[in-house]
Amino acid sequence: MWLPAKYNFLLFIVPALVYPIAGLLVGEPFTDPTAADLVLLPAVMVLTSNIGYAFKSQHEKSGVVDERDTRNIDLALTVTGMVLLVSITVIYIGYAATSDIVPTEMDYLATAGVVTIFLVLGGTEAYQRL
């Protein structure tokens, strides 16, 4: 039995995001991570965690994954989404206050955030009404 998709998503995405800033946290200068850095470590994390969970599932009656953990993850992802959207807005305000041009990547992030909100809201509304 493998870990649920939501766990695998987090196990991949969190190390991938932490890796580029890990050096900064210990006082080292920032270095651009390679694509391998961003994929290899998270992939190893996902693989070893799934193997560990599969082993544990075979030897224990009750698993470590249940609805409480899933709900906690949902809450964490919801708060993360809100923080990111507020951060994007603050960054836009910062650019608006200066004469700097907003990087294209910021526009992509903001678009992805807004589109995701409407897709999720629209999808759930449609599912519940139809």
């Binding site: 009656k61 009750s62 994954v65 249940d66 609805e67 409480r68 709900r71």
Partner: protein, 65 residues
């Protein structure tokens, strides 16, 4: 939400782990419910009620204030 899970579990003389195994969740989830730190889903509430052969209202008391 208040609940009588701990009382019902004591009456049934089973451990948190045994109840957790019976309803398919972790022991930590049973602990969290008993401490009123986590409100279970409707599905889990039904499983608990079925396990103790009682109604959901016998197990859980909502705060309606």
């Amino acid at each position: 939400m208040d609940n009588n899970l701990r009382v019902e579990r004591a009456k049934a003389d089973i451990t948190q782990q045994e109840l957790a195994d019976a309803v398919g969740v972790s022991r930590q989830t049973i602990y969290a419910i008993e401490k009123s730190k986590y409100d279970p889903s409707l599905e889990l509430a039904f499983k608990l009620a079925i396990y103790f052969d009682c109604s959901i209202e016998d197990l859980f008391e909502p705060d309606l204030d």
